[in-house]
């Protein structure tokens, strides 16, 4: 028995070796292609199918290349884009993509990293095409969603067939002004704010002036009312005897109008002095 041990172990090794080279697992998150001496044989579990699990292959003859089949993120940072209005922008984008044709992908990119860097190049070009024809306003706000769709469509037309991938989504994460421009924007924001502040203050003053003027108007109207009422009252009273009213009022006016010490020139033949000249008066 002891003599046989090496042979038993040897046999176990060989069996394990064969099993390990015959079976392989394709996980839910993966897809795989089987190559026989480097030649494509088949694909397992590509997107759109659901066939993960345990698989068999010819040992030592077939090899398996597996790729992720999930939605993968690719980030492009700080792409300088010149918009159609010559404004410089720094655009960051996120590309969500998925390997849909692993055979094609294997041929053109071999590894996921290689594919990602190819896709990055494609995306940069697609972004230049799509964004270079748009104004900076469109990129920043107006038609952003539309432009992202254009890039996505462009990529799906160019990169997708070439690399065997599908671009699920392109999102402009950030479309921003370069730092030098940013300071200018701040300057403009400050001046705009100053303008608003000035306007608010001016409006405040204007409204205050209007309020005062309205008050003045009301005041005059009230005073006018008073004056009118006064005139009516006097007219009614003096209307009883205009001649006497004139006399009466004149008397009062003389009383009030003349200050103390006012020089008064009086003719000696005035009414006041009539008895001074003649005992019986001169009338």
């Amino acid at each position: 028995m002891q003599r046989n041990l090496p042979f038993i172990f040897g046999a176990v090794f060989v069996v394990l070796l064969l099993v390990a080279n015959t079976m392989f697992i394709v996980r839910q998150t993966e897809q795989a292609i089987v190559l026989r001496f480097g030649e494509y044989v088949r694909v397992i579990n590509p997107p759109g199918t659901n066939e993960p699990g345990l698989y068999f292959k010819m040992p030592f003859v077939d090899s398996v290349v597996s790729y992720d089949r999930r939605n993968i993120g690719l980030t492009l940072e700080g792409q300088p884009i010149v918009a159609s209005d010559q404004e410089q922008l720094r655009v960051d984008a996120i590309v969500r993509w998925q390997i849909t044709d692993p055979r094609r992908f294997y041929q053109s990119a071999l590894t996921e990293d290689g594919g990602a860097s190819r896709l990055e190049t494609f995306t940069e070009a697609a972004m230049r095409r799509a964004l270079g024809g748009a104004t900076s306003n469109d990129i920043i706000s107006g038609r952003r969603a539309q432009l992202m769709q254009n890039i996505e469509a462009d990529l799906n037309a160019s990169a997708a067939t070439e690399l065997g991938v599908r671009v699920v989504d392109v999102r402009i994460r950030q479309a921003d002004l370069p730092d030098a421009t940013r300071e200018r924007v701040y300057e403009r924001m400050r001046s705009e704010r100053a303008q608003v502040a000035g306007r608010l203050r001016a409006e405040g003053e204007r409204e205050a002036a209007i309020i005062r003027a309205t008050a003045q108007q009301e005041s005059e109207r009230l005073r006018g009312e008073g004056d009118a009422e006064r005139a009516r009252i006097f007219a009614q009273a003096y209307g009883r005897d205009p001649e006497f009213a004139a006399f009466y009022r004149s008397m009062r006016a003389y009383d009030y109008a003349l200050e103390d010490g006012t020089p008064i020139v009086v003719a000696p033949d005035s009414d006041f002095f009539r008895y001074m000249q003649r005992r019986t008066g001169n009338r």
Partner: protein, 402 residues
């Protein structure tokens, strides 16, 4: 074997894209590799992609072999190893029991190992979690809270994911020890009217479809973050600065939530966005002073208005007072006139003379009287100025003139 070995780290996203699997399984048999002089163990431990090691055609490759405890001493050459193993077998099998005081039997060890192996298939799923089980990598079932049994690896693998627990991610700031620091690269966003606004926000989300979350998107939490930032920038880009920082905050939150959910559903990420919380939406620090001045200006304007309102009430009240006063005075005067007039009508001539004389009496007494004969023609030459100033000399002059 190499595939099997991936049982525990089964769902860790592969660092490198492709794992080329050819004849890799061999490496489990370490001594053999050593013998062949390939530096087998090092080769296994590199963790590089299949293309990293260069040289020659595709190299046999596999994950680093899992080292099973009972494998015995490693290294050494084949002869040594075999000799050791032979000795062990002699202990175990030869005496047929633990007679010699060495409690060491192969079946016992094997039994313990098998039980231990089966035991790894027992697992607990907490409330709020779900277990996702794959059989040979194929999604098999989702298990709810409780204790569960799965086939031990390599047949089945599990992933226990918290689904109802709220996950959060913050964008625009980093919170450390309850202190948050602004991250300008994330927080500064450009608005539709070409201004820059500083936005800090937090996303609350959980998982609505655990199998999608586990299988559809790589690094789903990171994807949520990216989508959130992108959505926020898009929403901010459609709006004007002033509404964003004042009245439309709620609308911004709502729009971002809707847009994020739409995109994440498109990815089949299995993520449910619960809430978008706008922590801060304000002018950036560089221009905050100018913004504050606008607030001050508003206050100034309000003050000016208030002052004017205060004056208004004063002016109007004064005018009302004037009206009332004037009317009452006029009424009074009119009544006085009427009273006098009533008496006057009884005796017109007498009253008139009396009134005249009484008035003139007062007037002449207080005034500076000059009695001048108008027929003398001297009026134009009177030094009136002098008469006003000097009270005394007027009288003789007047006398003289007469």
């Amino acid at each position: 074997m190499s595939h099997i070995s991936a049982r525990t780290e089964g769902f860790k996203p592969a660092k490198n894209g492709a794992h080329l699997r050819t004849d890799g399984g061999i490496e489990v048999l370490m001594p053999w590799n050593d013998q062949s002089g390939g530096g087998g163990q090092n080769q296994g431990g590199g963790g590089q992609g299949p293309w990293g090691s260069g040289g020659g055609p595709r190299r046999p490759w596999g994950q680093p072999p899992r080292q099973q405890p009972p494998r015995g001493p490693q290294g050494g050459d084949l002869e040594d190893l075999l000799r050791q193993w032979r000795e062990r077998f002699r202990f175990g099998g030869g005496s047929g029991g633990s007679g010699g005081g060495r409690g060491f039997s192969w079946p016992l060890i094997a039994g313990i190992l098998v039980i231990g192996w089966l035991g790894t298939g027992v697992y607990i799923v907490d409330e709020g979690e779900r277990g996702v089980i794959t059989r040979f990598g194929d999604f098999n079932r989702v298990t709810g809270p409780g204790i569960h049994v799965q086939l031990p690896p390599p047949f089945e693998a599990r992933q226990v994911i918290n689904v109802t627990g709220q996950r959060t991610t913050e964008i625009g700031l980093v919170t450390r020890n309850n202190q948050s620091t602004d991250v300008p690269d994330e927080s500064l966003m450009i608005t539709g009217d070409r201004n820059i606004v500083e936005v800090h926000f937090r996303i609350y989300y959980n998982i609505k479809e655990v199998s999608d979350f586990a299988f559809q998107v790589r690094e789903p939490d990171n994807a949520v973050r990216q989508v959130a930032e992108s959505a926020m920038r898009e929403v901010i880009g459609r709006r004007q600065l002033e509404p964003i920082i004042t009245t439309e905050r709620g609308a911004v939150e709502q729009d971002v939530e809707t847009l994020m959910q739409q995109v994440l559903d498109e990815y089949q990420s299995g993520v449910q966005v619960l809430q978008v919380e706008l922590l801060r939406a304000a002018a950036p620090a560089a221009v905050i002073e100018a913004f504050n001045d606008v607030v001050n200006a508003g206050q100034d304007a309000e003050t000016a208005r208030n002052n004017a309102e205060r004056e208004t009430s004063r002016i109007v009240n004064e005018a009302q007072a004037y009206r009332e006063r004037v009317v009452r005075e006029a009424t009074g005067e009119a009544q006085r006139f009427i009273a006098v007039h009533n008496e006057y009508r009884q005796a017109p001539q007498v009253t008139r003379d009396r009134l005249y004389l009484e008035t003139m009496e007062r007037v002449y007494r207080n005034g500076n009287l000059v009695i001048l004969d108008s027929r003398s023609g001297a009026v134009p030459y009177l030094p009136l100025d002098g008469m006003v100033r000097r009270n005394a000399p007027t009288q003789p002059q007047a006398e003289g003139a007469r």
